[in-house]
Symmetry: D2
Subunit: 448 residues, 4 copies
């Protein structure tokens, strides 16, 4: 019987992937299985509920990522294919207006039917049918469907991260504060979690000048994937600047709280302090202070944990990040500044495969810039907009990114729940500056 | 595997109860089992979701009715009893302010934990412990706990009706329009559902005068239960009036729609038409008209069904009921008028044990007043307030009814999902005039 | 030049009226002039603004009461009459749906045009034209228009009270806390405002029984006016009860505050405490406590004044009144209980003609029941609904009262800003239980 | 007596200013008088009302611009100066958190006191006191206060434009559709309003490259003013692009409407179509189509007028502007693209001194780029953020611009109600993309 605590799992639901990029079929299957593995520790009841309009139920993530392959691949390229269930198109379309009607987003949590078991059956069916299409011998077909499969794989990886974000939010609303996975399982995996001090704060200097940013399809690796919004690659003109050698930590944030950072208007954008006051923010999302001990705790995927002073601060809005930077006499970096530094660093870090499922302190020997990939997404000062020359693809797939280029801000670098091969220097994540349920933190910058 | 449709049940989850009122233990056990039987056709996923703030998840109903017995009986009268789970008190207290903190009502649907299985285990444990207390030999104890058990039994019956109301609302929000039970099972039970015309409309004349209404504890049947709000029994002074011999039917309502009843302000209370326009009401709740056939259908616990012109209209607000009455040159009855007529009729009708789960046409041979009990709750023109001399009991149990005596209107007579022995002439149900998810209809009245 | 303070008035804008009821023309003219006199202390700027949706600008009151006579009298009975301005019908119709389109109520404060001067010119024009119609010799015409004039006169008196309520609310929103009239002018008029203790609390006993309430058109005085909602006169059956000999005072209310009455749920209706918490109520409307002295002050039509402990409490919602009554182990009276007692008392008290413009302490020698008319409207426990046999008049005038018979509660007795001949034992005022900007207080009752 | 129409003015309330930039005293006095002249056609009633939270009453603009000089100049530099009224500091501070408490912005329209006459007296007093400080002989003082006077002058010019925007919005809410000024007066001034075709559409090509933008304090004219947000001047790297030779016209916009531009999601940003649907937008703000003729009219400062097909479209949100550009296969320019083109053009056009008070058709002989200054502010695709190296000034004056650098979009070029010397190539105006009450239009761009 399932009890209050997490289900008894003896192994982590994720593992590093060592599949060659060229083997698209293997990657497709691995990603499909990974999503299911991420859902496995959850009861069916956990998978149906939507805790706020920004979130989606796990079951919906399982269905929507399946809808993507059925709609964009099977319906177009598998002759005679009939949908598994004709009602699902309406239920699991997210926002593709050009593809017809959609179930309203804030009501995704009302879909107790189809039951989870049926969605899983749909998944199996679609996974099987897509695999059948991936015939190595049919080069003509593959040339047409491989880009869609590739996009679908990355799309599903985005939803893996969203799934974990949404589960954490859901569990944070429950006074029982359930854990997604028990701490002991996670600790055995995340062995680097030994007490470890963060790097001493320092700066990385950059001389500025003209540099190219954005995805470079001609960089040699032909199957290297990027979203449309990461291009065109283009030159930017930078002034000399400095970027912090590590993200802002929880310890740093406690100083901000201690010095009444949330109450002092001089640090805040006007919209930021208005939101802060309207929401009553006095600490990052998920922090709480039990009456009995007065210490700060946070809700995590491992359940409640004491705030680790040496780990990067996480679940702060861009407004809070911006205010913190002013508090320190600094600013947030632009996305171009971030990218020209990050492009020099290896793409590795505390990402989903490591299994920590939360930001961790960097070791003192971590090379600089520490934690530029993984741990926390880093807010930038850049509004999410089109790069010069950007044109979204024609058709429904063109709705993927471009239409969201308003009112959102760019984050960079991936986080502790980002799939391991789903991050790269040019990757542009984006959220509204008021949103906090992503694993969002920050790294300081200043003019040189 | 559970599919989209309802789970395969071969028998109805409810049956007429023929347990002697005097056998409290048997009634307690039967009611506990009945609640579980009502939940049984639902998947665990169906039982966790809350489709609007007025509704509660099935799992919450299962837990809250258990909390009632644990909190009011076991904690007070079972020496050494320790709560099954100390966290449940906070989660499953509904509104008893004097008993401590409560989980916010609109967030009941976020409680994916404790899982259903654990709530069912709690139910078993509490049912068992309460049964153990009901020792026929301990007259002293019984004198103290029997009134609480009796209240708890009736309280749980109320939640049985709420459970079905809430399931219907939940399923009505799902584009797949699931059925709570398949029509074939229900039809085999509800054999009176053969095509049957409603009674011809007519009036029951009443001469008015001084009459007593309200529950009469001295009426001879000592164990006859009533809620506090049904008393004190008191005299009322009535003028001569007429009460319709049957409820308003769907066929009647179609005339109201056809004559633009929803659009003509002259029929409406000012608050009523404001609500109607704000909500965009053009028909009773759950009615819809598919584009392909132009006919009115309604969502029911059997899934979607064509509107039955001969059945009583249901799921209308008091505002709509009042406007319909004016449209007909009539008015709604007062609760006193209703009661003096209903007191003369046998307490029987299309209630939960019949298994129809929806209002049915009355046969042409139904004695008058037809359907005064069962089928649909009948809105009155009476604001829900205290009877002269009403005093709520001391303590938490006093929060049961009295504190809701503001802004709500009285309904009378029970409906097709009201447990069979949970209705009586003096029973006062109450909802806000804007609410429609109860099985609420109306019966016309006029001055004589 | 007009300064911040009130305009220099040397006389009060109102005086007792001693016009015979039979002289309708004289009463019509006096009421028209009275409304203009009430507006005179205000700047044009004061007269255009609407401080909340429940309120209307003074200019709108001036126009709407004029529209009433133009629309119901001149348009129907003055041959060849053409409206002063055809656009005004839309702007100054309040809620008569059957008379065509209306300017939305919450936007009345946007009507900077027509300017005040033009509305006053309209007033003069309509007053003159109506006066011309009131030919004593044309008995046939008079028989048809006199009832409309009579209704219009009383309608305008209602708006005189609303005008003062709305001005007080507007000025309460201004940090400068302006006075409608300077205290010295008002004090010279309200000479009874000498320090005076309230009557010692006591009870008036009533034996109950069958009594007639409601307006009695056959009572002899043929021209005695009443609104439709005050009839039909009908018998009610009362149980023995007691009514307090005076209203609840500010001093009483301070005890409620001191004993945390606003925070103790046991005194409150469920809707009442929800509203209280949502609005953050901790004292009557307009009370404030300056940091420098810690004493309670209140905003009044004389500007800010210290709360007078011996005066009746005013500007409380029905929820607060109900909670206070429970705090005292009492209840609010029903409107029938109130009326049978009040019908024995002379209709006199601290009404508008006295010029106090605020509730005053009753003298110790005031006969009992003290202050049953005037000072403060007294909340009852009666929902505002139709009396048995009530039928609204046919046509637009039928929208006057009946359509508001939902969700509101009855208040009785008039207040310090009620015109002197605008109150009577059967008069039913009504507001939503959450509303506080009327001059609303309470008088306790209990079962005998 | 003031009638419904505008007050009888025989001259325009504004005239071209030919005061030398160097004569700061003369400019200060001229700007103060200009603000008063702009308010003069309005009744006191018109000047007190606030028609939406984004707007302010005219009286508030008159007071706030006075508060600026009293607070920043007189209080700091005039020894012994005591405020005209100590309560005004709270009432007329707009958003300077560091200067103390402020009256809530959405309640500015409740301030019927102080009356207009008193605010005008305050204006005179402050104008006089500031003038007295501007002693040409006291070079030391002048060095400190001249920058504040200069900022105050430009601040007041901004409020002149806001005043007219707000008056238009207020009058648009009135069913009487009043005119700010009668058309005949305005026509006699705006003699260029003869029927005139817009320029044929065409493009201005630009080769891109590295260019400097932003205010250049070293450009030779030492007293050339700019706001802090216009600097630092810095290089930008542009790709080749094309900018339209004229703004989009109403005729162009009618094509967008005719081709269902408001309904076709493919043209819209996701946030844009959500806002459009939530607000029910189907045309620019102030457009309306009377039932009797079916033609589009618009509300203007001259009262209602037929939409002029050849004039630039105005009062569109950035969302609409962006959607229109996509409809045409184009995009909005960046602010850098706009500036490098505009910097080559003379700073002249249909600005406030011309007296047209609405966008006008450009003559066919207008040099290209037509109307780059004046007529309508042009939305860009640039989020309003800090230029590289931007640091706000220390102290309260630093709240002027920087804290609004979130969620807003840049507009360029000035409009028909912008004071004549209040525009320059580097001027950055900013509004939320949803806002429409500014005189905002657009000019298309494309990649070369």
């Amino acid at each position: 019987m399932t009890m209050d605590g997490p289900s008894p799992h003896t192994t982590l639901p994720f593992a590093p992937s060592h599949i060659a990029r060229a083997d698209l079929t293997a990657r497709f299957l691995a990603v499909r299985r990974q999503t299911e593995a991420l859902a496995a520790p959850l009861d069916p009841e956990d998978q149906v509920v939507q805790s706020m309009a920004d979130c989606s139920p796990t079951k919906w993530h399982l269905g929507h990522t399946t809808w993507f392959f059925e709609r964009f691949v099977l319906m177009s390229f598998l002759p005679g294919y009939r949908p598994f269930d004709p009602g699902f198109d309406h239920l699991f379309n997210s926002y593709y207006v050009s593809l017809g009607s959609r179930h309203p987003r804030p009501q995704r949590g009302l879909l107790t039917r189809p039951p989870l078991a049926r969605v899983l059956a749909w998944r199996d069916s679609v996974t099987h049918a897509v695999t059948g299409l991936l015939d190595p011998a049919d080069a003509g077909l593959r040339a047409r469907i491989d880009p869609l499969i590739e996009t679908g794989v990355h799309h599903e990886q985005q939803h893996q991260e969203l799934l974990l974000m949404d589960v954490l939010h859901l569990f944070s609303c429950n006074p029982l504060r359930p854990a997604y996975l028990p701490a002991d399982i996670m600790d055995s995996a995340a062995t680097m979690a030994v007490a470890s001090k963060p790097q001493a704060p320092g700066w990385i200097d950059h001389d500025g000048g003209i540099h190219a940013i954005g995805h470079d399809p001609a960089a040699g690796d032909a199957d290297d994937f990027a979203y449309d919004n990461e291009g065109p690659r283009h030159d930017v003109l930078l002034r000399p600047f400095r970027l912090a050698n590590r993200p802002v930590t929880n310890g740093d944030w406690l100083e901000f709280i201690a010095e009444d950072g949330y109450g002092r208007a001089e640090f805040w954008l006007s919209d930021g302090i208005a939101e802060t006051q309207a929401q009553g923010w006095t600490a990052p999302l998920y922090w709480f202070r039990p009456e009995e001990d007065g210490l700060w705790w946070t809700m995590s995927l491992r359940g409640p944990e004491p705030v680790d002073l040496d780990a990067p601060v996480v679940h702060v809005s861009q407004y809070e990040a911006d205010a913190f930077a002013r508090f320190r006499g600094c600013r947030l970096p632009t996305e171009a500044e971030w990218e020209v530094v990050a492009a020099q660093a290896p793409v590795a870090g505390n990402l989903l495969p490591r299994g920590a499922l939360r930001p961790m302190p960097a070791g003192t020997t971590t090379p600089s810039p520490a934690q530029i990939y993984g741990d926390v997404w880093e807010w930038t000062s850049s509004a999410y907009g089109p790069y010069p020359g950007f044109k979204p693809p024609v058709g429904a797939i063109g709705e993927y990114n471009g239409k969201f280029m308003a009112n959102q801000m760019v984050l960079r670098g991936g986080c502790c729940v980002t799939p391991g091969d789903h991050i790269r220097p040019s990757y542009r994540n984006f959220f509204y500056p008021r949103q906090r349920w992503a694993f969002s933190g920050l790294r300081l910058a200043t003019d040189a």
